[in-house]
């Protein structure tokens, strides 16, 4: 078990170097001098350009800049933005908010999705099953920004149930509406997967055996059917995490959530290399860690799965 974790973590190292290098070179390769952007339509004097290029190491060759950056990162310093803010501070400020938003979305997704999938699976072909199919299809076919704008307009502005934007402090109550929108993204998959899985599990011999032993539905459904149906849903959750973070960039913008996605969006607009690379690197690391955690969860859900050295 320990060895498995260590091996998985070691596998993360090339992922880290590869992703930083690719992102760094992509940002580097976009044409144009970031210094000129700071001056708007004014053309700065050559001495000014030189002074600012030196300040941000823009006068160094590509590989030098990459290694300077890597050196900093390995010392725990994620660099400073062109505006002079520490990226560490920015991430420390924004990441907890995004994590809270993603967590809330996952909880909503699982609670609603699994429940709806379970009922649909148990009453296959019934009214509830068909209505759920229709609703989830509608939601799944809408882009997230449409969903977000519509939700903001109806529940935030017209009905006034929620504040239309989140803003300072990002209290849980304000995060609820964006989290519901974010959950909607993947809700349909959770429902369909749970439903299919529940139908399949229900036909297993051990379920009939459980009923045959005289166990009540209240015992068989959660312990025998649901638990054994959760494996595909769990795998999906890991892949889903990436979608949540990407979706968060859009959702955070619309609901003005002071999170990582919002910050990344602004950094890309500014062409702020150190900030973009650092944020994306951290996202990659989080993604790798979440995947490892999910893999470990399999063993808990299904004792037949064992980790080899």
């Amino acid at each position: 078990m320990i060895w498995y974790i260590v091996r998985r973590l070691l596998q993360g190292i090339p992922v880290f170097f590869g992703s930083t290098f690719i992102i760094f070179s992509m940002v580097f390769l976009t044409p144009g001098n970031p210094v000129l952007r700071m001056f708007g339509d004014r053309t700065p004097a050559p001495e000014q350009i030189a002074a600012l290029e030196a300040k941000f190491h823009l006068d160094q060759p590509f590989l030098t800049r990459y290694f300077l950056y890597l050196g900093d990162i390995l010392q725990g310093n994620l660099g400073t933005t062109y505006a002079g803010q520490s990226v560490n501070e920015i991430l420390a400020r924004t990441f907890p908010t995004t994590l809270r938003l993603a967590l809330l979305a996952v909880v909503i997704q699982l609670a609603v999705g699994v429940l709806a999938g379970l009922i649909s699976g148990l009453r296959k072909g019934g009214l509830f099953d068909n209505v759920t199919l229709l609703v989830t299809l509608v939601i799944i076919s809408m882009p997230v920004f449409v969903l977000a704008f519509v939700a903001q307009w109806i529940f935030g502005i017209q009905l006034g149930w929620f504040r239309p934007t989140v803003g300072a402090g990002a209290p849980w109550s304000d995060l609820l509406l964006p989290a519901i929108v974010l959950a909607g993204l993947n809700m349909a998959y959770v429902v369909r997967l749970t439903r299919a899985s529940v139908i399949e599990t229900s036909q297993n011999d051990f379920v009939r055996m459980a009923y045959g032993k005289g166990l009540s539905r209240g015992r068989v459904i959660p312990v025998h059917i649901l638990r054994n149906s959760m494996i595909p849903v769990t795998t999906n959750l890991a892949a889903d995490f990436g979608i949540l973070i990407v979706g968060a960039t859009v959702t955070e913008g619309i609901f003005n959530v002071p999170g990582v996605g919002n910050e990344l969006f602004k950094a890309i607009n500014r062409g702020d290399t150190p900030e973009i690379v650092s944020i994306v690197t951290i996202l990659v690391i989080v993604y790798v860690l979440v995947n490892i955690a999910i893999d470990l969860l399999y063993g808990v859900l299904d004792p037949r799965i064992r980790y080899v050295k």
Partner: protein, 542 residues
């Protein structure tokens, strides 16, 4: 050149623009003459500044707007673009080169230290000696150097402290309108605390203005709070209980909050809402002309477009070929007005009808075809007319409309040429390698035509992207700068514009306007010539 706000964080100068349909926003025009101050805290939609809050290093509107509340310059601007003394008692000169500036006595920074002549002189000298500051050029362009040449040292500008409240400035050229420029953010004073730790200061600035940083200060990425500064005794006394600048990632989010009164002041309505914002907000919608000029520029290195006879014919033909009225009506819902000159209607001295040749901006297909045909006789045209723009700034619609207008009028191929981002476009413009016309814009820094004409068209000036050089224009421009009265200055400037209409280094398109709104909770909201709300006079009851 100020870089505009949230939309343009997405790429330089996506400056808002529009027209003067409804005038001012409020019933009593804002100036309630020191009447009863309200106590509510006004929430202002805002976006995180890109730089530390240091006057000499702030050239975009978000930082500038906060600095304007935190600091008092020598003069301040009223809503109509006229100016009056703020920290200064008098600014005088006999020859418009040597100026003597006297401060009002007993002024204090919010940390209790006195505002002296030294506070200004040291701040300006520091700015001039640091080339990595975004506004350094303001000082080395305008002010003369000690010993005649720039030495980069800490005492390079020709500034002298006479006594605690008096200092002298020697300018490089005679400028009668120097006091007008002094209200711009870069000329604000700095307290001693700044020089002890510039980095800490940029995060928590200490000023001499109507407001100071509140208890929570600047919470990065979320908000910045200001409270009235008791030590400020100038004319811009705060009429509210404070300002809370709320960070928004998008204009749409800010607008959504405005509709539910969660934010009080939104100084730019998102493009998606332009068609409906007046219905949404009623008399709380603001649409007002502002000092923004939009154009596209053609570098003389572009084939067929030099400043020779052929080039001038082609530039004039292109200008005649654009239906500015139609484009402003359709694309901008009438929120912008077609340009009539190279300045702005909200700046004193605007009189396009007096300028010879300004009819080159009239839409006239026959004339355009005729001029183009004349140019073809000199050297036949082949290829495509391209208009470059940054795709991250929301320009595609009007660029497409403009090139279509040119295409239909002249019967030539004309297309928009998108660049992925602003820096890519500016780099090619700066290197003079761009092989197309390109969009340009100017938001006035201070209310004087000297600002735009001097920066864009004088030989060798900093933003002269068109490499324009005309001794006649330069002469009239300098004569205008040295003119003792506004009338004389405007006469010279307008005469100088005659040469711009002849040579068309840039093709004027339209003037900007502010399209904004405010919540039900505030009153006395007034927007100035610079498209900023006069925040100190906004009132809000608790």
């Amino acid at each position: 050149m100020r870089i505009s706000r949230i939309a343009a964080a997405a790429g330089g100068v996506a400056i808002a623009t529009a027209l003067v349909l409804s005038g001012c926003a409020t019933d009593n025009g804002g100036n309630n003459g020191g009447g009863s101050a309200s106590t509510g805290v006004v929430n202002v939609a805002w976006s995180e500044p890109e730089n530390p809050l240091i006057p000499a290093n702030t050239n975009e509107v978000n930082g500038g707007q906060v600095l304007n509340q935190l600091f008092a310059g020598l003069v301040y601007y009223k809503a109509d673009g006229s100016w009056d003394y703020d920290a200064a008692e008098s600014i005088e000169s006999d020859d418009f080169i040597n100026w003597t500036i006297k401060l009002k006595p007993d002024q204090k920074f919010s940390d209790g230290t006195p505002v002296t002549a030294e506070s200004f002189v040291k701040a300006w000298q520091w700015a001039a000696s640091n080339p990595d500051l975004l506004n350094q050029w303001w000082f080395i362009d305008a002010i003369a150097f000690k010993g005649g040449t720039y030495d980069g040292g800490e005492n390079t500008l020709a500034l002298d402290v006479v006594d605690d409240t008096t200092f002298t400035v020697e300018l490089a050229d005679a400028r009668a309108d120097f006091p007008v420029a002094l209200g711009y953010t870069v000329f604000f004073p700095l307290p001693d605390a700044f020089f002890d730790d510039p980095d800490a200061f940029g995060d928590a600035p200490i000023g001499n203005g109507p407001y100071k940083l509140g208890k929570d200060g600047w919470v990065h990425g979320e908000s910045l709070s200001l409270v009235p500064n008791d030590t400020y005794t100038g004319p811009r006394k705060a009429q509210n209980g404070g300002l809370n600048f709320k960070v928004y990632a998008t204009l749409d989010a800010a607008y959504a909050d405005l509709l539910s009164d969660n934010v009080d002041i939104v100084d730019s309505v998102p493009t998606s809402q332009l068609a409906t914002f007046k219905d949404d907000l009623g008399d709380r919608a603001v649409e007002q002309a502002t000092a923004v000029f939009q154009s596209f520029t053609i570098q003389p290195t572009l084939e067929h477009f030099g400043y020779d006879e052929e080039g001038k014919l082609r530039r004039a033909a292109i200008s005649h070929a654009i239906d500015r009225k139609e484009i402003t009506d359709v694309i901008f819902q009438g929120t912008r007005t077609p340009a009539e000159d190279f300045t702005s209607p909200v700046i004193a001295g605007f009189d396009p009808s007096s300028i010879e040749g300004s009819d080159v901006l009239d839409y006239d297909v026959a004339k355009a075809k005729e001029l183009w045909a004349q140019a073809d006789k000199i050297s036949p045209w082949s290829g495509t007319f391209q208009l470059a723009y940054n795709a991250d700034g929301g320009h595609q619609e009007w660029v497409d409309a403009t090139v279509n207008s040119i295409k239909n009028s002249l019967g030539i191929d004309a297309v928009g040429l998108p660049y992925p981002d602003f820096k890519g476009l500016r780099t090619e413009v700066n290197d003079r390698t761009i092989k197309a016309a390109f969009r340009t814009g100017w938001q006035f820094d201070f209310p004087s035509d000297a600002n735009i004409l001097g920066a864009l068209y004088v030989t060798g000036s900093g933003s002269n992207d068109a490499d324009y050089s005309n001794p006649e224009f330069d002469k009239l421009f300098r004569a205008g700068l040295a003119s003792p009265t506004q009338e004389e200055q405007s006469k010279n400037f307008n005469e100088a514009q005659k040469y711009l209409f002849e040579d068309l280094p840039a093709i004027p398109l339209w003037y900007g306007a502010v399209t904004a709104g405010y919540s039900k909770l505030v009153e006395d909201v007034e927007y100035g010539w610079d498209s900023w709300p006069l925040l100190y006079q906004v009132t809000k009851s608790e």
